[in-house]
Symmetry: D2
Amino acid sequence: MSTRPTRLTCPARSPVTDGDWGLLEPLAGGATDTSDDAVLGALVDVERALLRAWGDLLGENLDAVASAMRTDRIDRADLLAGSRTGGVPVIPLANQLRRLAETAVPGSGEYVHAGVTSQDVLDTALVLMAGRALTRARDRLVAAGQALVALAESEQTTLAIARTLGQHAAQSTVGVAVAGWLDGVTSALDALAALELPVQLGGAVGTGEDVDRLAGRAGATDELRAGFAAELGLTDPGRVWHTERSPSLAIAAAAALIGTALGRIGRDVAFLARTEIGEFSLGATGGSSAMPHKRNPVDAVLLTANGLRVAGLVATVHSAALSQDARPAGEWHAEWAALRGLVRLALESADVAATMLPALSVDRAAVERNRALSPDLADDRAATLAASGRIVSTAVRRFQSLHPTESP
Amino acid sequence: MSTRPTRLTCPARSPVTDGDWGLLEPLAGGATDTSDDAVLGALVDVERALLRAWGDLLGENLDAVASAMRTDRIDRADLLAGSRTGGVPVIPLANQLRRLAETAVPGSGEYVHAGVTSQDVLDTALVLMAGRALTRARDRLVAAGQALVALAESEQTTLAIARTLGQHAAQSTVGVAVAGWLDGVTSALDALAALELPVQLGGAVGTGEDVDRLAGRAGATDELRAGFAAELGLTDPGRVWHTERSPSLAIAAAAALIGTALGRIGRDVAFLARTEIGEFSLGATGGSSAMPHKRNPVDAVLLTANGLRVAGLVATVHSAALSQDARPAGEWHAEWAALRGLVRLALESADVAATMLPALSVDRAAVERNRALSPDLADDRAATLAASGRIVSTAVRRFQSLHPTESP
Amino acid sequence: MSTRPTRLTCPARSPVTDGDWGLLEPLAGGATDTSDDAVLGALVDVERALLRAWGDLLGENLDAVASAMRTDRIDRADLLAGSRTGGVPVIPLANQLRRLAETAVPGSGEYVHAGVTSQDVLDTALVLMAGRALTRARDRLVAAGQALVALAESEQTTLAIARTLGQHAAQSTVGVAVAGWLDGVTSALDALAALELPVQLGGAVGTGEDVDRLAGRAGATDELRAGFAAELGLTDPGRVWHTERSPSLAIAAAAALIGTALGRIGRDVAFLARTEIGEFSLGATGGSSAMPHKRNPVDAVLLTANGLRVAGLVATVHSAALSQDARPAGEWHAEWAALRGLVRLALESADVAATMLPALSVDRAAVERNRALSPDLADDRAATLAASGRIVSTAVRRFQSLHPTESP
Amino acid sequence: MSTRPTRLTCPARSPVTDGDWGLLEPLAGGATDTSDDAVLGALVDVERALLRAWGDLLGENLDAVASAMRTDRIDRADLLAGSRTGGVPVIPLANQLRRLAETAVPGSGEYVHAGVTSQDVLDTALVLMAGRALTRARDRLVAAGQALVALAESEQTTLAIARTLGQHAAQSTVGVAVAGWLDGVTSALDALAALELPVQLGGAVGTGEDVDRLAGRAGATDELRAGFAAELGLTDPGRVWHTERSPSLAIAAAAALIGTALGRIGRDVAFLARTEIGEFSLGATGGSSAMPHKRNPVDAVLLTANGLRVAGLVATVHSAALSQDARPAGEWHAEWAALRGLVRLALESADVAATMLPALSVDRAAVERNRALSPDLADDRAATLAASGRIVSTAVRRFQSLHPTESP
């Protein structure tokens, strides 16, 4: 047993000294599926899946080689240095993986990263990362939606004032407002359900020729792509999308919808929790460095902040989609962080919503007190309740048709 | 007959004196389906459809009333004045339409705009306008796609150098590049095919109570919405989306995809038509005020410019989607022009692409001359052609599966 | 006298049929300095100023020629057609102006648009339009600021609760809040005061050679640019900025700051005018198509909406600034409408603020009622008032140092 | 000496496990002044400066306390946990610093973070970080500018074709093009020179009352702010800008200008280094995972990518500037990462430009070969050279007036 700290104690961290560990991102901890380590894991998984697909195509057992390609063996500092030189982390990564392969099974290095280009690996890894993160976001959204179902149903008959342009407008119920939030969650889930997550495989300029040549027959690239997709649980798009970025835009749109739908809930909740309004209160609240008495609706604030950050990232992903040639001179590189950023915001927000919403409580007395400020707007109670019932049950059905609750 | 110009000669134009008639929008002429007149037409159509739906619901024949609600009777100056006061043009429009109805059929005014709120009418009108404009954009996209099919097939065996990061990268064909453009068009058509175009109908705060009350029975609002949607050929969403803006975001995303896919083609074409490259030339080119000799690839430039304008508008639509209350105090208003702007860019670009692409011609000698600059990259010709054949036919099939060409 | 409407009754309007006359822009009427007609006027003014500068340079009297170049003689339909063909309205405009010149003074056409390129004229015209519109915006901002000075001073001792993250936080005064709004207005005025408004003059590719050649001596382009700037009251930048867009970005930033500073005031006012809060009320309010009882804070809502629209336009101007070559293939074209849009939002918002703020009234009883909701936060009254006095007088001095009020 | 790894071996890294260490940011290594560690350093420096300013104000020697507040004593995991709870890292940081102070000098904890709010500390720290990073960016920009001066002067007489809209347009020189790049650098330096970097100090709701109370006299907050600013080398703004975000927007605009000016150079260089153009070559180039022969202009590509990322971040900073109350419920939180991101892009790009530009070389034969493609555009050589000389010397003078080169 070593008597002093070995180099292995925290070797992978050395390049991290000047990284971002979450200081300016209060929700960062909830989005580990989108961290650089998560992306690195996805990159290695992609190279491994490619290797296995090659094994299947060639009828060779490359499992031992794949097993040797382990994320914890990756030298991150070398990745960063190589990324600075080549503009993309896949070049140094492929070199490292080839060395790991050769060490495990001499002569196997040629199978690693065979026939593909950096963009094949990085695009597929970002899709894989997005798929994993959005799958978790989906689970959290379902939890958030279930909390909203419960809340909408329990407040279906709680008469409340509805406000438009900041003014008391007409009688409604708390249930109707919550059903509107639920609609946003359901729409986001719909978008996730419709989302395609394709692999990228085209080789240097998208023709797949290198794969064909290495496999020794025309059309092998289509087979390899199908196997590659199957290994990763992603879709085989049947084509190359190096410069046709609609798959990226679709992921961005789905993630943006999550951030936006939950940002709106955050904004509504932060308002309804205002001191003068007091209709909602959050289970957990934050303090203040200057005002220890305060109970800040931190979760609602952070949901709102994430919602506000969506638009700029969506803009960047669209700017980046204006591609050129067989790979553009800057646009592709501009996409990576923005796409990851959107997925991260979505996951963070879903996580917060799933925590915040079940703990939300309604102060019916406050609701009634606010409603009473506009006695002229007190309409026919039965009509409002009938409408509320229909709206809540419609929203619940729409949510549950996507996400059937299990029977006991 | 009057002996001098009557007020009616061009009255509608008076408020227009300081409008935007296209001076800074070279493609404005191609997007009349998105003009203020088009939106006004949609607003009136929406009010008319609502009236007819009421007629059906109540079993009354309101056709004569609907016929009296004519766009050419609308006083635009009054609309603008009322819009400044109330923040939305629907309030003065509904007043004018009520007066037209009363003039035609005394007592009928109460049926106009009955039970609805401004947002019901404006949201539905923007969806209707978008639907009309995007339908025309779809036709133009199909025409653009057919031109690309022809070009991809005719250049399937034209060996060409493919470039990545601006550098010669590997051998490909012109057909492969064109197939990539076609993929973008097909993806945009896919997005259009999947696009839902829902009516909005919720009344003051989304509960539909006013409709129920006017109809004299609970649930009438659901019936009215179904009839309203049927009248307009739009979808009945079965719910209200006043503050759940996923339908707007979906329209924005589809329009953005058109502008982006065609912007990328514009950028590629502008590059390939460069003096030094010369691989493509455009049928029609523009001159220059300073350099009469020049043949500017104006269509490609304008496609690129439209593509560049997409991101900012998409950002605005997302910022606007962060709603509040039963109608927010600014976000909804911020959405209108940006959403219309995206639809306009899409239609303009589709129009230009449908004109530009069939007239595009390839200079095979230039393609070969450029390819010859990198003799080391001259790979196995047969392999490249085989790959090209597969890629082109895949792209063509993908396009045609959506848009079957008629047999003669 | 004609017995029937002549073609001249409204000829300029024909191309406008499908233009935007303000239907989706409730504040459009306040921004006529940014309309297409205003831009056209600026374009003609720019060509006229160039002509006069040529006259000075050559020692020729071209006043009669300049006088013939009248905006009301411009055929807008021809401009639009030419703009579609050439991608820029200056080419057809220069042709029309040359014809007008030739008609007035045969042989004078060669002096029109001499030695310059479309971008010289359009860039300068947009700067001129921006300068005019922002000058008016400045006046309106000063008026808005004066209203805020009066309000801050009159409410300097009105104790109020200050809110952070939506929660009651600590005791302050209405005056402090208003001083914060005033600070935003002053910052915007500062930005306007520092704004450079340069002419553009570089000829085809920025070297000014054509001017030198036409003038018959090297360096004439520098003289012409100085004279051109003097004619227009703009700055001579001493250089060409065809592809170095910092002047556009500076205009965009100043306009954005106006829209943002006033958007924030709009948001605060809309909140403080909420039914439950009631601390402020607006002089003029709007109705609702569904809820005639409502008093919507329309001006505050529209200020907020304009504020929300700033970000997307700023994004577009930045995307457009990533130029290329001596004139890029799309980026420049993408800038025009976004830059104009920002200036328009700024002017509209300044106009609304100058109207809304003097009519704003404070309900001190409501302020006190809200403050009383948090009795624990009632701090030392004297300390708060002392701080309020300092903050208000600092904000007023900062405003007045820029904008001294005249003594009687 | 310890025989096993101590807690100090890598304790600070534990929360970092899922952070971003640069995998998707090839230039991250050049921007350590903007890392989370750099921000943490700035936060601690700010708290220390505040403590010293308190010492001066109170006439107490707090140096020993300040010395105890060391960044390397900060428990990052605790910061992250506290940030998640309270929404801002300053609350747990202040608690940790108080404990460090108490440990060093019992009873001194009350002086730490005295009278201020989280926003005072975080805003000031971000300004301080921005100031440091932009100071380094400035040095790198000067180096980049000096390289451009040398290049513009050496290529002042190298005739070249100038291109507009992708087409050969007219004769110019390489020097003129480079002078245009230099103009961008000078404009960015100008913006930096004009940039104000103010401290933030307002206490809970901006009135500074807590400082006054702790100091025992009205107006102490103004003195403390002046001392605080002097300690940090920042500006005393004489006011609070918690919700008047023009200082943030100014930093964003300056950083954006750097990223944009250098992005444009990157785009031009990437084009001019294209295989067919070949007018420029980069000293260092990158390889390709699929095409080992390639020499990718990585630096130019990454400059372009950074330029493309500016717009979205600028949009977010503007959305975040639409504030509310005495601190908004989300907007402020949305600003942090975007503002840091812009500063980071600026520093990264300045770093790359300072490396890339001195190593850029011109292939005059290629320049001449391309020019010869348009023999009709070969104008009067003397006129072009005269214009080139004036333009280059003007650009050099403009740069040097800001940044005088030392005499030997």
